[in-house]
C-alpha cells in the first residue's frame, strides 16, 4: 500500500457512508465511524445551543445597566451556557467524534473493542442531553454549572434535579467511551504497533480515557447526593445538621478539575498530529509528549483545591494545592516547547489546519500562563470570581480546545467525508476565529484585573468600553464558527474529491481509502516504522 494515493474515483467505491442507507442503518449501527458522525451532529447541535446562551450573555453585557433580562434570567443564561458547553460539548467533543473515528484506524483495528457499548454511549449521551434540554424548556437552572451547595440543595427554585440528572446520565456516556478506548488501545493494536509507535493523538486520548474512567464516577455520586439531598430535603451537605457544604466543592472539583484535562488533552493530541504533518518533520520529543499526557492526567488529580482558595479551606491545604498546580504547568510546557521545536527547520506550509495550530499554540500559552497567575495563592485571592478567571478559562477551553477541534475537523474532514472543504474560506474563517476570540476575551483579562466580578448582569459604567469590545468580538467569533458549518455542509455535495491522502500525511488512517470502508482495512496492516517518519518520506512503507 502506498502512502500517497490520489484516486478521486474512490468516492463511488463502497465505503462506510454508502454501505447501507436509511435511518435504521444509522441508529442501529455499530460502526465506530458512523457513531462518530452521530456524535458530531449531536455535539454540534449542543454547541450551537450553548453558543446562543453565550450570545445572550454578551448582549446583556453590552450596556452597564441590567436592561435586557432580569438578574434571575441572567443567572439561568450563564448556568445553561456552562452546563451545555462543558458536559455536552467540551467533554465529549474530540474523543467522541475524532477519537471514535480515528483511534481504531490509527492503531490498525477494524473497530473499537466494544462496538455495541460505543453505540450505547451515544444513546446515553442523547438521553442526558434530553434531560438537560428539558430543564431548559421547563424554566432553566440558576446554580451555575458547578451546582454549589447549599444553594443548589436548599435555596434555588429552579430545575436542579432535572439538570443534574442530565449531567449524571451524560457522565456514563463519557465513562463508556473512556472504557472502550482503554481496552481498545491495550488489546486491539495491529502487529508492530507498539506503545512507542502509537500516534500521539492516541496517547492523548488514552490519558483522557484514564481521567474519564477515574474521575467521572465521583461526579456521578456527587450529583446523585445533591439530587437526593434536594429531593428529601436532608442530606450529608446540609449545614443545618452539621453537614459540610465545602465537602461538596471538594468532591465536585475532584472530578471537575481533571475534567478540564479531559477537555484539553485530546486537543493537544490533535495539535501533535497536525504540527508534524504541516512541518513535514518527525515530532520532536515523542516520548516526552506521550509521557506528558500521562503526567497531566496524574498531576491533574492532585490540584483540585485551587478552585477553593477562598472557601475557608485550610491555609496549608491552599499552599499545597498552589504548589502542585504549578507542577501541572510543567508537562503542558513540555508539549508547547516540543511543538515549536518540531516546527524549527521544518518545511512549514500554511493550510487551514496549520493556521489553527498556530492559533492553538499562542492562545493556549496565554491561557496556561494566566493559569499560573491563578495558581499563585495571593494573586488568586485578588482575582477570584472576576472576569480574569472567565478569560483564563476561555483561553484554554475555546482558544485551546475548540481551536484544536476545528483544526482537527479540517484536517480529517477529507478522510471522514471524502470531500475537501474550500481552502480559501477555511483560512478566512480560521483568521476570523483568532481575531474574534482575542477581541472577545482579552478585554476580559483587563476587566477582571480591574475588578469586574463575573456572574452579574449589571456592571460599573467605566467598564463599558471593554465590554462592548468583548461583545463585538463575540459576534466575529460567532461568524467564525458559522462559516465552517456552512462550507462543511456545502462540501458534502460540491466539495472536490479528496483522495486518500490529500495532505501527504503519515499514519495508518491515511493508508485507507477516503471515506474508509466499513472495516477500515482490507487486511490487517503490519507496522514497521515509528510514528511520523516524515524525514524518511522517500523510503516509507507503511502497512
Amino acid at each position: 500500500m502506498s502512502t500517497v494515493l490520489q484516486a478521486p474515483e474512490t468516492i463511488e467505491t463502497p465505503n462506510y457512508l454508502n454501505a447501507e442507507y436509511g435511518w435504521k442503518s444509522w441508529l442501529f449501527t455499530t460502526d465506530h465511524k458512523r457513531i462518530a458522525v452521530l456524535y458530531l451532529i449531536s455535539i454540534s447541535a449542543m454547541f450551537a445551543l450553548g453558543g446562543i446562551f453565550a450570545m445572550l450573555i454578551r448582549l446583556e453585557l453590552l450596556t452597564p445597566q441590567g436592561d435586557l433580562v432580569t438578574s434571575d434570567t441572567y443567572n439561568k443564561f450563564f448556568t445553561m451556557h456552562g452546563v451545555v458547553m462543558i458536559f455536552f460539548f467540551l467533554v465529549p467533543s474530540i474523543p467522541a467524534t475524532l477519537g471514535n473515528f480515528l483511534i481504531p484506524m490509527m492503531i490498525g483495528a477494524k473497530d473499537l473493542a466494544f462496538p455495541r457499548i460505543n453505540l450505547l454511549s451515544w444513546y446515553i449521551y442523547v438521553a442526558g442531553a434530553i434531560f438537560a434540554l428539558a430543564s431548559i424548556v421547563m424554566g432553566g437552572v440558576d446554580t451555575g454549572w458547578t451546582f454549589y451547595t447549599p444553594f443548589s440543595t436548599t435555596y434555588s427554585n429552579t430545575f436542579v434535579i432535572t439538570a443534574a440528572t442530565g449531567v449524571f446520565i451524560a457522565g456514563f456516556s463519557s465513562i463508556l467511551t473512556g472504557l472502550n478506548f482503554i481496552v481498545t488501545v491495550h488489546k486491539m493494536r495491529a502487529p508492530g504497533m507498539t506503545w512507542g509507535r502509537l500516534p500521539l493523538f492516541v496517547w492523548a486520548n488514552y490519558a483522557t480515557a484514564l481521567i474519564q474512567v477515574l474521575g467521572t464516577p465521583v461526579l456521578a455520586i456527587t450529583l446523585a447526593l445533591i439530587a437526593l439531598e434536594r429531593g428529601f430535603h436532608i442530606g450529608i451537605f446540609d449545614p443545618a445538621i452539621g453537614g459540610d457544604p465545602i465537602l461538596f466543592q471538594h468532591m465536585f472539583w475532584f472530578y471537575s478539575h481533571p475534567a478540564v484535562y479531559i477537555m484539553i488533552l485530546p486537543g493537544m493530541g490533535v495539535i501533535s498530529e497536525l504540527v508534524t504533518c504541516f512541518s513535514r518533520k518527525g515530532i520532536f520529543g515523542y516520548s516526552f509528549i506521550a509521557g506528558s499526557s500521562l503526567g497531566i492526567a496524574i498531576i491533574g488529580f492532585l490540584v483540585w483545591g485551587h478552585h477553593m482558595f477562598v472557601t475557608g479551606m485550610s491555609m496549608y491545604a491552599g499552599l499545597y494545592f498552589s504548589l502542585l498546580s504549578m507542577f501541572v504547568a510543567v508537562p503542558s510546557a513540555i508539549k508547547v516547547f516540543n511543538w515549536t521545536a518540531t516546527m524549527y527547520r521544518g518545511s512549514i506550509s500554511y493550510e487551514t489546519p496549520m493556521l489553527y495550530v498556530f492559533g492553538f499554540i499562542g492562545l493556549f500559552t496565554i491561557g496556561g500562563l494566566t493559569g499560573l497567575f491563578l495558581a499563585t495563592l495571593g494573586v488568586d485571592v485578588h482575582v477570584t470570581d472576576t472576569y480574569f478567571v472567565v478569560a483564563h478559562f476561555h483561553y484554554v477551553m475555546v482558544g485551546g480546545m475548540v481551536v484544536a477541534y476545528l483544526g482537527g475537523l479540517h484536517f480529517w474532514w477529507p478522510k471522514i467525508t471524502g470531500k475537501m472543504y474550500p481552502e480559501g474560506w477555511g483560512k478566512f474563517s480560521a483568521l476570523l476565529v483568532f481575531v474574534g476570540f482575542n477581541l472577545t476575551f482579552f478585554p476580559q483579562f483587563i476587566l477582571g484585573y480591574l475588578g469586574q466580578p463575573r456572574r452579574y448582569h449589571a456592571y460599573a459604567p467605566e467598564f463599558q468600553v471593554l465590554n462592548v469590545m468583548s461583545t463585538a468580538g463575540a459576534s466575529v467569533l460567532g461568524l467564525g464558527f458559522l462559516i465552517p458549518l456552512i462550507y462543511f455542509l456545502w462540501s458534502l455535495r460540491y466539495g472536490k474529491a479528496a483522495g486518500n491522502n490529500p495532505w501527504g500525511a503519515k499514519g495508518l488512517e491515511w493508508t485507507t481509502q477516503s471515506p474508509p470502508t466499513t472495516f477500515n482495512f482490507d487486511e490487517t496492516p503490519i507496522v514497521t516504522e515509528e510514528a511520523y517518519a516524515y524525514a524518511k518520506h522517500e523510503e516509507a512503507h507503511v502497512g
Partner: protein
C-alpha cells in the same frame, strides 16, 4: 475468541475501577464526617442491628462461593452444576435483599429515617441529645450507601437471570464462558463493597463491648 475474552475481562476490570471511584466518593465523604464527629457516629451505630448485618454478610459470602463454583462449572462444561449454582447465587442475592428489607422496615418503625418527614425520632438512653443532628448525617450515609449497594444487587440479579437463560440454552462450555466470568467479577465486587459497609456502618459503636 481469546482476544474477545481478554478484552471483555479487561473491560470489566476497568468498569469495576469506575465502581470503586463511585463508591469511593461516598466512603471518602463518610471518612470526613467520621473524623469530624467520631462520638456521634459511634453512638449512632448502636441503632444499627448487627444481627441483620452479620446474617447478610454470611449470605453474601456464600453467594460469592456459589458464583465462583458457577464459573468453575462453566469452565468444565458441567451444564447442570452451572445452572444450579446460578440459581443458588440468585437465591442468596434475593435473600440478602429480603433481609435488607426487614432491616429498613425496622428503621422505619424505630423512626430512624431522617429522609422522610415524621420518621425521625431521637430519644431514649442510647440517644445522647447532643448528637441529634449529626446522627441524621450517619443515617443519610447509611441509606445512601446501602441503597446504592442494593441497586447494584438488583442489577446483579438481572445479570444472573440473563446468565441462567443463556446457560439453559447451552451457550457456555469450556471454549466459551466469557459472560459468566465477567458477571462473576461484577458479583464479587458488589459483595466486597458490602464487606466494607458492614463494619463501617454497624460495628463502629460496638468496639468497647468487644474489647
Amino acid at each position: 475468541m481469546a482476544q474477545q475474552f481478554d478484552s471483555a475481562t479487561f473491560g470489566m476490570w476497568v468498569f469495576l475501577l469506575t465502581e470503586i471511584m463511585f463508591f469511593g466518593g461516598m466512603f471518602g465523604a463518610y471518612t470526613v464526617y467520621r473524623t469530624m464527629y467520631p462520638e456521634a457516629f459511634a453512638a449512632t451505630s448502636n441503632f444499627m442491628n448487627p444481627a441483620f448485618g452479620a446474617a447478610n454478610t454470611a449470605v453474601l459470602i456464600v453467594s460469592s462461593l456459589s458464583m465462583a463454583l458457577a464459573v468453575r462449572a462453566a469452565h468444565l462444561g458441567q451444564q447442570k452444576v452451572l445452572q444450579l449454582m446460578l440459581v443458588a447465587t440468585m437465591i442468596f442475592g434475593a435473600a440478602f435483599l429480603v433481609i435488607k428489607g426487614f432491616e429498613y422496615h425496622e428503621h422505619w418503625v424505630d423512626g430512624k429515617v431522617p429522609l422522610i418527614a415524621g420518621h425521625w425520632v431521637w430519644d431514649g438512653p442510647n440517644a445522647p441529645p447532643q448528637f441529634a443532628h449529626q446522627a441524621q448525617i450517619l443515617f443519610c450515609f447509611y441509606f445512601f450507601m446501602t441503597g446504592f449497594h442494593a441497586i447494584h444487587m438488583l442489577v446483579g440479579l438481572g445479570i444472573m437471570t440473563t446468565m441462567l437463560i443463556m446457560a439453559r440454552k447451552g451457550t457456555f462450555g469450556p471454549t466459551y464462558y466469557t459472560p459468566i466470568e465477567v458477571s462473576g467479577l461484577y458479583w464479587h465486587f458488589v459483595d466486597i463493597v458490602w464487606i466494607f459497609l458492614f463494619p463501617l456502618l454497624y460495628l463502629i459503636g460496638h468496639t468497647k463491648k468487644l474489647i
